[in-house]
């Protein structure tokens, strides 16, 4: 009965789903419907050197996020907190809690190609953009929707438009091209090493390649991730930034 139902539902999904719905599903798949707890490693690749930072990340909806650096030793203990539209950073070496101004949102996080905005997900790919399907393409043997996201006039986003490739079957972001207001390609992100993590199929390796910089990229690897485990709102507090392990 179940099989029959899902077999009937599938073609319906395939045809009638709106582009916004596709993006929402993919976004939720990655960030969790309610919360997510992850252990990740970020490798910054530069022409003459590379460096890996390990961190833990807790999120609750779009409003709350907390990130704690766990390695290397020099950076360990630094934490970043997002509550609604505000972001703080805590540095244990100098015992200072610093509020990051909105002007710093587009700056690199921990020296990587990711911006503070990317890490904190200030803007929403679902609500801040108008979506349209512009085609279907095969990527790594997977059929993808090719969706164009155009930033809404009044949305506080740093991209002019985006093109995202979303897996048709599993709703995975496999590739994204991000363009600025002048429609120049600024960076490309690709998702690979698709694995089952906490019963979900997700890409566990994301490569970010800035267009302008040669031999430069940032790789994020998801080592562990847990979705929708209950996290109290009080977890995302300034006090907890200093305590969390």
């Amino acid at each position: 009965m179940l099989i029959l139902l899902s077999a009937m539902a599938l073609p319906v999904l395939g045809q009638d789903i709106s582009p916004k719905e596709i993006v929402r599903k993919a976004d939720e798949k990655f960030n969790g419907e309610k919360t997510s707890t992850a252990v990740m490693a970020m490798t910054i690749v530069r022409p003459t050197w590379e460096r890996t930072i390990e961190f833990k990340n807790w999120t609750s909806g779009r409003e709350y996020a907390l990130t704690l650096i766990t390695a290397p030793a020099k950076d360990k203990g630094q934490s970043f907190l997002k509550r609604q539209n505000e972001m703080w950073s805590w540095n244990p070496t100098i015992s200072r809690l610093i509020k990051l101004p909105p002007s710093m949102m587009s700056q690199g996080w921990m020296g990587s190609d990711y911006t503070n905005d990317d890490i904190l997900k200030e803007s929403s790919v679902v609500n801040d953009y108008d979506h349209s399907i512009i085609g279907e393409e095969e990527l790594d043997g997977r059929m993808c929707y090719k969706i164009k996201l155009v930033a809404k006039e009044d949305a506080a986003v740093i991209w002019g438009h985006q093109i995202r490739w979303i897996d048709k079957k599993d709703f995975l972001f496999l590739k994204s091209e991000l363009y600025d207001e002048d429609a120049y390609l600024v960076r490309t992100e690709t998702g690979s090493e698709i694995k089952i993590m906490d019963d979900r199929l997700i890409p566990t390796r994301i490569e970010l390649i800035p267009t302008e910089e040669e031999d430069q990229m940032t790789i994020i690897e998801i080592k562990e991730i847990e979705f929708n485990a209950p996290i109290e709102e009080s977890f995302f507090s300034q006090q907890n930034m200093k305590r969390v392990r």
């Binding site: 003459t48 050197w49 460096r51 020099k74 540095n91 070496t93 100098i94 015992s95 200072r96 020296g111």
Partner: protein, 471 residues
């Protein structure tokens, strides 16, 4: 010889005319020389300040550091290379440095600062930061003590209030600002020094602690013993953050640097930026700093250093200042040109009148048998005498002023000093000692005199005796 005697006597026949003409030449020479001396002196002073308190004459750097001053563009401090550099005959010592930018904060006060990691001992060969430590300060407490001191005259008390919070690296400047003359200094200064003394400590390699610029400390409202927090990006995009105790406050003569500098011991600074063992620059103290010596030294050193490093000299490193000075120099030369033009017309005017006045005299002389050639040569000698008197007198008086000025540069105080500092200059007007520029000014003025002789010559040779006699 006779001609010479005649010319000399002619000069003093109309004393006033001679003196006025000489005086105009005197002033031309005097002003030109003093102006030039102050100009050259100020440039030299500013260069020296910039070089000696900051860049040094020569630096070895990572090849990309100058264009992109980030801590990734640093090089390993190599003892072997250092030995090779020290072997150069013009290199007196090498001064390792690690400089970068950081955000400094004290509670709500935050400011972008220049962080300099230095070896305080080695730095003595170049910038001598320890000499720039603030020794006296007219803090509100110090002023109160002066106010309550019954021995201090009212004037000193008034001036002390005017200079509230000023910092001094020497007692002579403090004495000047408080309007105490040398005679009373021995009587009044010891008490004032005791009231205003500032307790500065040193920074040492291996010990966390910083020196901050006087203006910066005032902006951040930090004093000795307080803690300053520094945040920046370190080597390979690590986080650089640290808090340090302020050991001392230094007053750098360049206000632009003074309001943003923080000195750290070299190794502590390298640790802060996670770049242990690396340098942003290796400054060289040299024995001879003439342009030619520097150029030759740069050439020799360039051959020694590895490919990823480069040698820079002070002109390149102070490009903005050098071009600023060049522009100012051109402006000064134009001013001199205008001065010369005015004086030249003055001299020519006098000569014109002189020739017209003596037309009849010339006519009579030629009529009674004097050769025009002889008359012309006497006239020339007269003019040369006038010129010589003016030039020599001008040079003599200017020399006295300049020689005094070299020893006692003009130091501005009070409001004027503040205006200078707002423009980023030290409130000091230095003189440049007597040098080749002297000869040039004198040659130019002499040339002006020679040019104005042309007119009487033409008059004499073109003279119609009959007409001249009737004049």
């Amino acid at each position: 010889m006779n001609n010479l005697k005649l010319a000399w006597r002619n000069l003093w026949r109309n004393r006033r005319r001679t003196l006025i003409t000489s005086a105009s030449i005197f002033f031309a020479v005097f002003f030109a020389l003093v102006m030039r001396s102050i100009q050259l002196g100020s440039y030299d002073h500013m260069y020296k300040n910039a070089i000696e308190s900051y860049t040094g004459y020569i630096q070895v750097q990572h090849k990309d550091f100058w264009d992109e001053k980030i801590v990734d563009n640093t090089f390993a401090y190599d003892q072997h290379l250092e030995q090779q550099l020290l072997a150069d005959k013009n290199v007196e010592s090498t001064i390792p440095r690690f400089e970068s930018f950081a955000l400094a904060s004290n509670g709500p006060q935050t400011k972008g600062v220049l962080v300099m990691g230095v070896d305080p001992e080695k730095e003595k060969h170049l910038s001598n930061v320890s000499d720039k430590m603030v020794k006296y300060r007219l803090s509100p407490e110090a002023i109160e003590k002066i106010q309550l001191d019954p021995d201090q005259p009212e004037k000193v008390k008034e001036l002390a209030v005017l200079f509230e919070n000023s910092a001094y690296t020497s007692n002579s400047r403090l004495q000047l600002d408080l309007g105490i003359d040398d005679k009373k200094a021995s009587e009044l200064m010891p008490a004032i020094e005791a009231h205003t003394a500032s307790k500065n400590g040193s920074i040492h390699m291996g010990e966390p602690g910083v020196w901050v610029g006087d203006k910066l400390s005032q902006y951040l409202q930090l004093g000795i013993g307080d803690t300053i927090v520094l945040i920046s990006q370190g080597y390979h995009a690590t986080t650089a953050a640290g808090k340090y105790e302020i050991k001392g406050i230094v007053k750098i003569p360049l206000p632009d640097i003074d309001n943003k500098i923080v000195y750290l011991p070299l190794d502590i600074c390298q640790g802060l930026f996670n770049a242990e063992g690396n340098l942003t620059s290796l400054a060289l103290a040299v024995n001879d700093n003439g342009d030619k010596d520097i150029a030759q030294t740069v050439q020799r050193i360039s051959a020694l250093i590895p490919e990823d490093q480069r040698v820079m000299e002070w002109r390149e490193m102070n490009e903005v200042m050098v071009s600023q000075m060049d522009a100012d120099d051109k402006g000064g030369q134009i001013m001199l040109g205008i001065l010369y033009l005015v004086i030249a017309f003055g001299v020519f005017g006098t000569v014109l009148m002189l020739t017209a006045e003596r037309k009849r005299e010339f006519g009579v002389l030629v009529a009674i048998g004097m050769q025009k050639k002889k008359l012309a040569s006497i006239m020339t000698m007269e003019m040369l005498f006038i010129g010589l008197i003016g030039i020599l007198a001008g040079a003599l008086v200017a020399s006295m002023v300049i020689l005094y000025g070299v020893e006692h540069p003009i130091i501005f105080k009070g409001e004027t000093a503040k205006i200078f500092e707002e423009y980023g200059m030290e409130p000091k007007m230095a003189f440049w000692n007597i040098d080749t520029y002297y000869i040039w000014q004198m040659v130019i003025v002499a040339f002006m005199v020679l040019l104005s002789i042309v007119y009487p010559m033409r008059k004499i040779f073109g003279m119609k005796v009959v007409n001249a006699l009737r004049a």
